[in-house]
């Protein structure tokens, strides 16, 4: 136990002696951990958002062109009476074309191809209070006999009822790309951090080479000689990870509420336990980087 105290004392000395390189390695660890942390926080936010998007879908029931208004009104009334239904709206063929035109401003030539025809069906749009019941409501609509008469294809009623899993899949794709970019960025930063720590520890070893020579001479064990340098690497990593945690905590306290205010329809809150988990991950990851970095340096520069 006494040697742990000795290691600590020595590593602090090394820290003071090479302040600038020590700061360099701390800053790189800090930055890489900060980015890892931001990705972790962002990742868990997106996961939450996606699950909420997944559950907040509305149901779109397409209606045949020749469906009489009375029957449509009747079906809308029936759906309105179902449990968990918040509101029922109607999109006419013209409105559907208008919506389509608005979403196709990027390539209007598609609209020209329509030659004035309107292939888009009218639809009944259902908003739900409880997103979990989306499939049961959809099934109930499908079972409704009057809707069966006015739907696009009476032989396959289910085909006319859409609720969007597609959007969720697209989101997944996008977040996957983001994840790859994040992993590449993190890998580069970790590499830089390792190089920095390697360099810092090398300088610490050089600064103490006389003492190391004497320690070897009088038979200090390898572990004892290495201890201070491992400790120094770990110390840098710890300081770097604490800084990263501090910054993420500040972001959590100030930036996320501001973001939440700006974008009200999305929920950015993550539970405390998730944050704690992320912080623990950062500390462990930092220690790993620090220890591996100083181990590299010792293998190359510290012959024992």
């Amino acid at each position: 136990m006494s040697s742990i105290g000795y290691f600590f004392k020595e590593s602090l000395q090394g820290f003071v002696r090479n302040l600038s390189t020590a700061l360099g390695s701390i800053v790189t660890i800090f930055l890489s951990l900060l980015i890892i942390g931001i990705f972790l926080v962002g990742g868990s936010m997106i996961e939450r958002l996606m699950s909420s998007v997944e559950s907040e879908v509305s149901i779109t029931c397409y209606v045949a062109d020749d469906a009489p208004d009375a029957k449509i009104q009747q079906v809308m009334g029936t759906i309105n009476g179902m449990s968990d239904v918040q509101s029922v709206g109607f999109t006419s063929k013209d409105q559907a074309l208008e919506n389509f035109r608005n979403s196709m401003t990027a390539n209007p030539e598609i609209l020209d191809q329509l030659d004035g025809n309107n292939p888009l069906p009218a639809s009944i749009d259902v908003e739900l209070t409880n997103p979990q019941s989306v499939s049961s409501v959809a099934a109930a609509i499908q079972a409704d006999p009057i809707y069966g008469q006015i739907c696009e294809d009476p032989n396959d009623v289910g085909d006319s009822i859409k609720y969007g899993q597609g959007t969720v899949e697209r989101l997944f794709q996008i977040t996957n790309y983001v994840r790859y970019i994040g992993i590449a960025l993190i890998a580069i930063l970790i590499f830089i951090a390792l190089v920095f720590i390697n360099n810092t520890i090398r300088l610490a070893i050089l600064a103490r080479r006389k003492e190391i020579a004497i320690m070897r001479l009088v038979g200090a064990s390898n572990g004892f000689i290495r201890g201070p340098f491992l400790m120094e690497g770990a110390l840098h990593a710890l300081i770097g990870s604490l800084l990263a945690i501090l910054v993420i905590q500040l972001l959590r306290m100030f930036a996320i509420p501001a973001l939440q205010n700006a974008i009200r329809f999305l929920d950015f809150s993550i539970s405390d336990s998730t944050y704690l988990f992320i912080y623990a991950m950062l500390v462990i990851f930092g220690l790993l980087i620090g220890l591996v970095g100083s181990m590299f340096a010792m293998r190359r520069y510290l012959k024992v």
Binding site: I214, L217, V218
Partner: protein, 285 residues
């Protein structure tokens, strides 16, 4: 007679200590404080300790070739035995292989061919992690002292104990004791640069023997010192030898070797040219 017996005992015990490596640490406080002073007999007229028992160091056809000079071995086919309690000189010109010899004993180097046994352990097959424990049994003194300039005399000697994990108590009792032995009890708190060369070498010797190694190796311990100071250092080494410690001194100092008449091992360009009891320096320099 009684002195002979005690020397033999000391020699045997030192041989045992070597073989048991680090296992035999002093157990109680009483042992701790008394062992050194008890083991130090008063300086008197004395004969050369006889070769007795089994050798503590054996070299068998040792050859060391450095990769940089493949055609000129630093040591070539050297075989010799060193017995517990011996005091021997290793002489030779620069480049004759003295330093290589010493580095082989502390296993800073491995022999290219042949075997080196220290206390029955083959250094060429020794595991790396065991090397520190070998070195705890070998004290080393160098021409350039190798003291830490930012530490006091006490701290320099204490460092040797601290880094092998000795307790504060051991440090507190053993360091003043060994500094008294080398005659520096007054200068505990001086920094090395406040001491004369002879005094610095005494600190270095104190550091080498504070852990009571059975073997003390000195690489030109008086190379930087004037003849009178050198004499003092050699007296000290002789006293340490009398405690049963085997002492090996590599030196250029013709006068000293001739005066002391101990065993002399002469190396010339890597070859063992002479191994002589009560020898003289014998080179025409």
């Amino acid at each position: 007679m009684a002195q002979d017996a005690s020397r033999a005992r000391a020699a045997r015990s030192s041989a045992r200590r070597t073989s048991a490596a680090h296992a035999s640490q002093p157990k109680s406080k009483a042992q701790l404080t008394s062992q050194l002073s008890q083991a130090l007999p008063v300086l008197g007229i004395d004969d050369v300790p006889a070769k007795m028992g089994t050798p503590v160091i054996t070299l068998e056809h040792v050859t060391k070739v450095y990769p940089a000079q493949p055609n000129r071995p630093a040591l070539s086919d050297v075989s010799l035995q060193i017995y517990a309690g011996e005091f021997l000189f290793l002489v030779g010109h620069s480049g004759s292989g003295k330093s290589t010899f010493i580095k082989l004993l502390t296993r800073e180097l491995k022999p290219t061919q042949g075997h080196i046994y220290v206390a029955d352990e083959d250094l060429s097959s020794m595991r790396n992690w065991r090397v520190p424990y070998l070195r705890r049994n070998i004290g080393c003194v160098f021409q350039d002292f190798k003291l830490l300039p930012n530490k006091t005399v006490f701290e320099n000697v204490a460092f040797a104990l601290e880094v092998i994990g000795k307790s504060k108590h051991v440090v507190k009792t053993q360091v003043p004791e060994v500094l008294r032995l080398v005659g520096l009890q007054e200068k505990l708190n001086k920094k090395p640069d406040q001491l004369s060369g002879g005094e610095q070498q005494r600190v270095s010797i104190a550091r080498a023997i504070v852990n009571r190694p059975p073997l003390l190796i000195c690489d030109e311990p008086t190379g930087n010192l004037d003849p009178q100071t050198s004499r003092g250092i050699m007296d000290l080494l002789e006293r340490i030898n009398r405690t049963g410690t085997t002492v090996l001194v590599a030196t250029h100092d013709r006068e000293m070797v001739d005066n002391m008449r101990r065993r002399v091992i002469a190396l010339d360009r890597g070859h063992l040219t002479r191994d002589q009891d009560r020898g003289v320096y014998g080179f025409d320099v």
